[in-house]
Amino acid sequence: MSQFNGLYIAISGMNAHKAAMEITGHNIANVSTEGYTRQEAVFVPYNPQQSTLFRGQIGRGVTIEYVRRMTDEYLERRIQNEQSSAESWKVKAELLQNVESSINSLDLQGRFNSFWEAWHGLAMDSTVEQNRFEVQQQATSLINILKISRSQLEQIESQIDFTMNSEMERVNILAEHISKMNDEISSNIRKGLQPNDLMDRRVGYLKELVGITGASVIYNEDNTVSLSLNISTSGGPAEELKLIDGIYFQPMPSDAQVITEGGKIFGLKEIKNNELQYYYTTMDDIAKSLATGINDLHKTGYNKEGSTGISFFKEPVSGVRDLELIPEIKGYLDKIGADGSSPDETGKIAMEIFNLGDGFSRSISNFLGHIGTATKNTMIQDSSHQDMLQTMENLKAEVSGVSMDEELANMMRFQRSYQASAKVLSVMDEILETLINMVR
């Protein structure tokens, strides 16, 4: 044992507390860093040794055995799961609000009303050209509005496709980052280092990745993570892709479809395959009924030239995209058949067409009601999942978050301890000086 043992003990105290202050400083500096997990010094006394001064063991001071990362892995996993649901509902709510405002601003029912009113006007006097013109104009307007509505939906669908592609690219990028981090983290830990900041960053990337794909993270023994996805390439059967396998990663092929039950991609797909399809079908059905209903009546109607059997809309109509006036009616107003066959039936067919209006308002009403309900529901879900996520983040922050007041209090404590050890050092120094001066 050395004469200078006392010195070393004091110095160890100063070093340990200086390091602790640095760690505290690191925490304070990172108070605004997103996803930062606070670190705590773990003070551990050095192994004692046999003392030369007395019979027994004597301590050798303190050291920081390691820097603990204050995390709760269980919470991390729960947050990942919740992130997956939250992202899914968030994108659904955004998309449906988009759908809702495009369709709502078009005032479908208003257009229909003007259309029926034009037929009524024609029924009252089918000899006046102005009334025929009005019918043709309103019909053209109505067709346009229906087509615009459908194309708004189609635009939203391409937006979805575009977003899905960029998300897939992001997934590949994240997978690459994470696999590299896996490598660094596991090799650092093997060397006995504590890659706390790397681990924080990995948590952040994983959260984003799970938010997009809804996949589960597997924590491996060697401190790496793995993540697999179910994909299908070119419409083939589902197969497993080991996206991240420890330090290796396998990028998704560009024509692959991710099959998932959660995450942003799930939300995008649900809206595209379920909601949007339903809306397309509803609109197409309305177009079909419109064309069939009016054509059936119009064909029995007589026009100004006295001929009958003419359709109003081009046939066949499978949906909104096929809806068009027949060229004869576009070009020549007198072809519009408003009258019945006998002289008592002037305007009769036009009036019967006017009477079709009731049924269509029910369809539009259902359509808008459905959009409203679906949108409202997703908004409610989105909000409640955001709240849930917030709660869990709070729970995590309880454990991992930096509290300025706490760190400052620690700072004061470590400073005092440092001062105390420094005092010990100076006293030890005096003792040694006394010893040395004894010999003179």
């Binding site: 000899t127 002289p343 008592d344 309880e398 509290s403």
Partner: protein, 296 residues
């Protein structure tokens, strides 16, 4: 429970976000005056509003049709009144002419007078409403009766035989016209008038009396036609009232959904404003506290 700075901050931000969202909602509602901007604000209300708007439009169309029909019938009513007056007048002349004390010259004057009555009658038979001939059946652009050039006869009825109807409710229709054939030709109005004129010119009192009898028959027919027109006008008036009531009803239901209760909206706005202010004040106070202020 440990409370960290990040927790405090994110809780505060989330509260502010939610409050300001509700505040914005209340403001927009008040500014636009409408309780429903988007279907998701009130899905059931939106559905109902669509149907109500269509119903209102429908009622307006019925009212429009009824108004048109009423105007048509009222024109007919007035004209038939003038027709029966003229017929009365002609009858008076016939009686006068048949009187033995009247001279030939006076009869010639009376004949000329009948000539005028005939022209007047032709004018009445060709009456129009809104540019359409009301006694021409479905051929509303064809003049039903034409006096020929030498004014000795009226050409046969040139109108159609069809009826014109207006839809008063659902599938119910009401015929709003009389064909000129029925009123003028079948009742031999012009024929009788010409016969009377001739009789006056030829001093044929028998013929004058015969003409008078025909004219009397025509007069009765016209009066009863007019009565039917009158009752149709009444019926249309009732239907119109019904539709106006329905329309008012639908409009007030729509108003309920769209404009809603203004007081409620204003209260909500005040409440959200207060909540927002409170969130900001509290947050600022709490986030301003720090140990740094107290460390020497």
């Amino acid at each position: 429970m440990r409370v960290t700075d990040s927790m405090q901050l994110s809780n505060w931000l989330r509260t502010m976000q939610k409050t300001s969202q509700r505040l914005e909602q209340a403001q927009t509602t008040l500014a636009s005056g409408k309780g429903v901007h988007k279907p998701s604000d009130n899905p059931a209300g939106t559905s109902r509003a669509v149907i109500l708007k269509e119903q209102i439009s429908r009622q307006e169309q019925y009212i429009f049709g009824i108004d048109d029909g009423s105007a048509w019938l009222k024109t007919a009513d007035t004209v038939l009144g003038m027709v029966s007056s003229s017929l009365s007048e002609a009858q008076g002349i016939a009686l006068q002419g048949a009187n033995a004390t009247v001279s030939q010259d006076q009869r010639k004057d009376l004949a000329a007078h009948i000539g005028q009555v005939i022209e007047h009658m032709v004018g009445l038979a060709n009456a129009k409403y809104a540019g359409n001939y009301i006694f021409s059946g479905e051929k509303i652009n064809a003049k039903p009766f034409e006096l020929n050039a030498d004014k000795t006869a009226v050409q046969p009825y040139a109108g159609g035989s069809g009826s014109i109807s207006r839809q008063v409710q659902g599938e119910d229709t009401l015929v709003i016209n009389y064909s000129g054939k029925e009123v003028f030709s079948d009742n031999k109005i012009f024929e009788s008038l010409f016969q009377l004129k001739q009789a006056l010119e030829t001093n044929n009192t028998d013929k004058m009396e015969k003409a008078n009898i025909e004219l009397s028959g025509a007069f009765n027919k016209v009066v009863s036609n007019r009565a039917i027109v009158g009752s149709k006008i009444n019926r249309l008036g009732e239907m119109k009232e019904l539709h106006e009531l329905q329309k008012d009803h639908f409009e007030s239901m729509l108003w309920e959904i769209e404009e809603g209760n203004l007081t409620e909206v204003i209260t909500a706005l005040k409440r959200e404003q207060m909540a927002y202010e409170a969130a900001m004040v509290v947050g600022a106070k709490i986030n301003g506290l720090s140990l740094l202020d107290y460390i020497r």
